[in-house]
């Protein structure tokens, strides 16, 4: 594809209301992006009535042509690449799906061809268990050379990215907003790091705001880019299940990390397993699918209480993975509130305890 064609594709991608599928169909019909862009001036318009609708949108979009062209030329300055399906490094697997995006904005380095990719998705409001699992999965997969794909949302997504960054940094974040915007804001550090060692991908123009409708759309890229999708924690009704459903439509393997039946945050995962998703209780299950050998995994397990002071041991034995409120710990350990708070702070420093909310404490995995 010529550079000129690419620029026209860019202009088309920036026009609101023309989806990936429409664009692909038009291209198949007309043969070049230039002719799509100038569709009004050609006779092609009379071929299909539907073209009129498209033509109108393009006409509206053309008023911004200058600005968009400037934007296109400053992309390299921002460290952003514009990748199209005609490019060498466009993710191979993404082409297989029904509606691959016609343009991707990318910062960083995309997964190489033939590389294994696995998506890890889950709830934004997670539990300590979910966080630990996601981080563990991310870490082990990245260490085994598998790219970890996720959405950089709060909670499970971020944990999976963090895990991957801690061992090799092979991770791709698919954003629901433009690459010049970091959403959620508290993930700014993560955003930077992924941009440096992994890659940030978005199908939305650089300054697109994180609109609610964008997120389900980017979910199809998460699953589309991956060989398999692992759901770590999800409610009965959640975006992660949408991703899982999309993955099934796209013919991807779906795995779910099991949880307790009483835990509303695991209800979605358990239901997936019930309806046939593979149960994944360790990263090894994912590696097996890729027919890779299980490496000696660093198991996630509860720490034993060796080397703790007596009161600390007492407090630690009262804790659970499910965070407990301080009062409950005080009551169960029989210690005074003061001693209990002191011991908990100490344990937290030693890495035994995680504080999930102000005075809620749980065991750290």
């Amino acid at each position: 594809m010529t550079e000129q064609e690419k620029q026209y594709l860019y202009l088309l991608c920036r026009i609101k209301g023309i989806g990936a599928v429409t664009l692909r169909r038009l291209w198949e019909e007309l043969g070049s992006f230039q002719s799509i862009y100038y569709i009004e001036e050609t006779d092609e318009m009379k071929k299909f009535p539907a073209f009129c609708r498209v033509a109108q949108k393009i006409r509206l979009g053309r008023s911004e042509q200058k600005k968009t062209e400037e934007e296109y030329h400053s992309l390299s300055e921002w460290g952003i690449q514009f990748i199209t399906p005609f490019d060498e490094n466009y993710p191979e697997k993404l082409k297989e799906i029904y509606d691959p995006p016609m343009g991707l904005w990318v910062r960083g380095k995309l997964p190489e061809k033939g590389c294994h990719t696995a998506a890890i998705v889950g709830a934004r409001d997670h539990t300590e268990y979910g966080r630990a699992m996601a981080e563990w999965f991310g870490r082990e997969l990245s260490a085994a050379g598998i790219w970890v794909v996720s959405g950089m949302a709060r909670g499970i997504d971020s944990a999976a990215h963090r895990g991957a960054l801690s061992s090799g940094g092979k991770t791709a974040a698919i954003l629901g907003c433009g690459l010049k915007i970091c959403y959620p804001r508290e993930n700014y550090r993560l955003f930077q790091e992924i941009g440096e060692t992994g890659c940030l991908i978005s199908e939305f123009p650089p300054y697109a705001a994180p609109a609610a409708g964008n997120f389900p759309m980017r979910n199809r890229i998460i699953s589309g880019m991956s060989d398999l999708v692992t759901v770590v924690e999800a409610r009965e009704k959640s975006g992660s299940l949408i991703t899982a459903a999309l993955a099934l439509d796209q013919g991807r393997e779906v795995l779910a990390v099991p949880g307790r039946s009483t835990d509303p945050l695991s209800a979605g995962c358990n239901r997936l397993i019930k309806s046939g998703a593979q149960l994944a209780d360790s990263p090894g299950d994912l590696l097996e699918i890729f027919s890779m050998k299980r490496q000696s995994e660093r198991m996630v397990q509860e720490k034993n209480g060796k080397g703790l002071a007596k009161t600390e041991k007492m407090v630690y034995s009262c804790l659970d993975l499910q965070p407990k409120f301080l009062d409950e710990i005080i009551q169960q350990s029989g210690l005074s509130p003061g001693a209990c708070m002191g011991a908990l702070l100490e344990l937290e420093w030693k890495g035994y305890v995680v504080r999930t909310a102000n005075q809620y404490y749980g065991k750290k995995l």
Partner: protein
């Protein structure tokens, strides 16, 4: 003929001498009053004339002139009715004038000639004593209040006729009977800490707060006993000393809030203004400023329930009195200083629905939570020494209630708090500081010195919690109080750790450093 009577006007919470002068002379009959009078005082004219008539005095129509001096201070209130009436009677020659020089008179008149209760009798009696008066004549209903002021003899009068009798023949025994000494143990229906079920963390925080007069913020869902706990904090503070009771009663007396059946306020104040309260209601205000909630809570607890619902200006105005322990209300006629040495207890939900951080129940968005919490400004947050958390109580605990497990009552907690107060009293002898929370830099260095190991722990807390220098000072003060409660001379490691536990909420809810 001319007659002069002493009375007391009130500015702020202090009394000043007002001389009520009356002159009866020949001329066109009439009654005129001068002396920069408020409308209540102007209305005294009709009350006085009718009361005189109905008490059976015959005042032939003459020209009556009344002057209240000093003439440049605005005079308000109804307390000048009685002195005006006495001055007029004196000018007519009905009552003897020889005693009037050394007597202070104050009271409101009814049309029948009865003398009614007035506000601020404590301040009036105190001012009279200071002026070296021999007697203070107050309405009978305020007699015990006046007697509580100190050493000046107070006579209670029920009617204008009794007033005349007093001036002619001296006091009657029943009018000057001293208040019988109060019974020690009041059988009052005060709430007790044993009513609060569970919540050991919050109770402990309340105990520490009361022991060092630290400000306390209670966070938690609705219905978990935040207000209940706050309401009970005054009951675990040691009883008021006589000096404190006088100070507090003076303010209550001026606001007309004194209970009728007792001369002095006996229980520690607990003020809980509604969150619609205005700046004037909290700080004190009005054209003639009256003490506001911060002053009424002096020596006790000012409780702000639903802190984020209070208007921003109200929350911000608390900053100055919390530093200076008094509040200055400035008006055109002058500035009035009211005491404001209170302990602030505030309660707040963690989010609009109240269930945050329990994500199974809380449906507020991150943004909603943030906006809600950000209504509490940093400077106020900075002054909260302890942040305690309340959680929903499991049903079993509620149902088991008092039967299975006896919750500690206020009295036994009060004993521990009292012991801590005594330690502080001893420590701060000869200093202006009375409580750990009021320590300045100098005292902090002197009394909160840390050992080597403790210093290291402090450093760790400081770094992990992203504290500021001010945060460190606050933490040390709380640790000092915890050590006092335990009866320890030095601040130990566990005291620091516990103190840190009460400040960690700031970072969780508001994020970032401690300022």
């Amino acid at each position: 003929m001319f007659c002069r009577v002493n009375s007391i006007g009130i500015a702020g919470i202090e009394g000043y001498l007002v001389r009520v002068e009356a002159d009866v002379s020949n001329g066109l009959p009439g009654f005129s009053m001068v002396g920069y009078l408020g409308s209540e005082v102007k209305e005294a004219r009709d009350r006085v004339l009718t009361a005189l008539k109905n008490s059976g005095y015959s005042c032939p129509p003459r020209k009556i002139t009344v002057n209240l001096s000093p003439g440049d201070r605005k005079k308000d209130g109804t307390a000048f009715d009685l002195p005006i009436a006495v001055a007029v009677l004196g000018a007519y020659g009905v009552v003897p004038k020889d005693k009037l020089e050394r007597v202070v008179i104050a009271g409101e008149l009814g049309l029948s000639g009865e003398v009614k209760r007035i506000r601020g009798c404590l301040a009036i009696a105190a001012a009279a004593e200071e002026l070296g008066m021999e007697w203070c004549c107050l309405p009978e209903g305020n007699r015990r209040e006046g007697q509580a002021a100190g050493n000046i003899p107070v006579a209670g009068v029920r009617s204008l006729r009794e007033m005349e009798e007093f001036l002619k023949y001296g006091p009657r025994a029943e009018n000057i009977a001293e208040a019988e000494p109060e019974e020690e143990e009041e059988s009052e229906d005060l709430p007790d800490f044993s009513d609060v079920i569970g919540q050991p963390h919050m109770k402990r925080a309340a105990e520490i707060a009361a022991a060092g007069m630290h400000n306390l913020l209670l966070m938690g869902p609705a219905g978990t006993g935040k207000s209940m706990t706050a309401r009970r904090i005054p009951t675990i503070m040691p009883p008021l000393t006589l000096e404190e009771r006088r100070e507090i009663s003076k303010i209550y007396s001026i606001c007309g809030l004194m209970p009728e059946d007792r001369p002095l306020i006996r229980t520690r104040p607990f003020r809980s203004p509604h969150h619609t309260a205005t700046v004037q209601a909290i700080a004190g205000g009005g054209r003639r400023p009256k003490p506001g909630e911060v002053s009424l809570a002096a020596g006790g607890v000012l409780f702000l329930d639903e802190l984020p619902e209070f208007s921003r200006s109200v929350i911000e105005l608390l900053r100055q009195p919390m530093e200076d322990r008094s509040i200055v209300v400035a008006r055109v006629h002058g500035a009035y200083r009211f005491p404001a040495d209170f302990m602030l207890v505030a309660a707040s939900n963690p989010c609009p629905c109240g269930f945050f951080p329990d994500r199974n129940r809380c449906r507020c968005t991150e943004r909603q939570v943030k906006t809600y919490l950000n209504r509490i400004s940093r400077p106020i947050l900075d002054r909260m020494d302890l942040i305690a958390e309340a959680a929903p109580i499991p049903y079993e605990e509620l149902a088991a209630g008092k039967g299975s497990r006896q919750e500690e009552n206020s009295e036994s907690i009060r004993k521990r708090v009292h012991a801590a107060w005594l330690i502080q009293k001893e420590r701060y002898q000869g200093l202006s500081v009375r409580f750990n929370s009021r320590m300045g830099r100098g005292e902090l260095e002197q009394f909160c010195a840390l050992g080597r190991e403790e210093e290291q722990t402090m450093k760790r807390i400081y770094e992990q919690e992203e504290m500021s220098g001010r945060g460190r000072d606050r933490l040390l003060k709380v640790a000092r109080t915890i050590a006092d409660l335990e009866g320890e001379k030095r601040i130990c490691r566990e005291h620091l750790l516990e103190a840190a536990g009460y400040r960690r909420g700031v970072r969780f809810y508001w994020g970032g450093g401690w300022d």
